[in-house]
């Protein structure tokens, strides 16, 4: 059924409006012609079929009028939602720009601090190396704790 709704959405609103109104008017005219035609000689042969066609057109017209109202409400709702989505996408983009800038600023601060620490180590390097020698076992323990332990697959 969505295919039908989709096809409806392709037709411009003004065209739909006129086609549906024409259906209703044609239906009413058909019914009226069928009713009046009964008393007119020669035409009365077509009065029965005209009435039937009129009823069919009127029923179709009224049915489509209902569908048209739903379609209009649907389009208005879709338009409202589309606007909201566009606004939210703009907000989302701006939030990303702000966050990316904040991350860059924070990372720059950490990198600056890293340089400062490295400079401080260089200054006291000779002093700390003269006073202390690190055992290879201590380095092994430190390296083992730095390695990533992968979880066993189940």
């Amino acid at each position: 059924m969505w295919q039908m709704a989709w096809m409806w959405s392709l037709i411009p609103t003004s065209v739909l409006y006129w086609v549906i109104n024409l259906l209703i008017v044609a239906g009413l005219v058909g019914i009226a012609a069928g009713w009046i035609g009964k008393w007119i000689p020669f035409v009365n042969t077509y009065a029965g079929p005209a009435k039937i066609v009129g009823i069919i057109l009127l029923v179709l017209g009224v049915y489509f009028k209902g569908g048209y109202s739903v379609e209009i409400a649907y389009r208005a709702e879709a338009e409202r939602l589309q606007k909201l989505v566009e606004e939210s996408e703009k907000k989302s983009e701006q939030a990303n720009i702000d966050l990316a800038q904040a991350v860059k600023d924070r990372e720059a601060a950490v990198n600056n601090q890293k340089v400062v620490i490295q400079e401080r180590i260089k200054i006291v390097k000779q002093k700390i190396d003269a006073d202390c020698r690190v055992d290879i076992e201590a380095i092994d323990i430190l390296n083992d704790s730095a390695k990533t332990i992968k979880a066993k697959k189940k």
Binding site: V103, I128, D129, I139
Partner: protein
């Protein structure tokens, strides 16, 4: 039965949902970098300055990684709030 099926199709027309496209929000490229492995101390050295150098570098890496994790949390909260505003 045929009339009943026709009636069902009439109600199905009313069930068509609104066709509004929404895109998943982009993630800043800085957040997509994985955290690196920690640096290891060379086993050929016995100088404390080398050990401290590696350890402080690893601390810095931790801080950089923490910034990205915090940013992910912030990104999720913000984008969720924006997402929920569309109703």
């Amino acid at each position: 039965m045929k009339k009943f099926l026709a009636l069902i199709t009439v109600f199905l027309v009313g069930c068509a949902g609104t066709n509004v496209a929404r895109h998943f929000p982009e993630v800043p490229s800085d957040l997509q970098k994985p955290c690196p492995e920690l640096e290891l101390v060379s086993t050929t050295t016995n100088k404390l300055s080398d050990v401290i150098g590696v350890v402080t570098d690893n601390y810095a890496e931790y801080h950089l990684c923490r910034i990205r994790v915090d940013a992910w949390i912030e990104w999720h909260k913000t984008q969720r709030t924006i997402f929920e505003e569309v109703k």
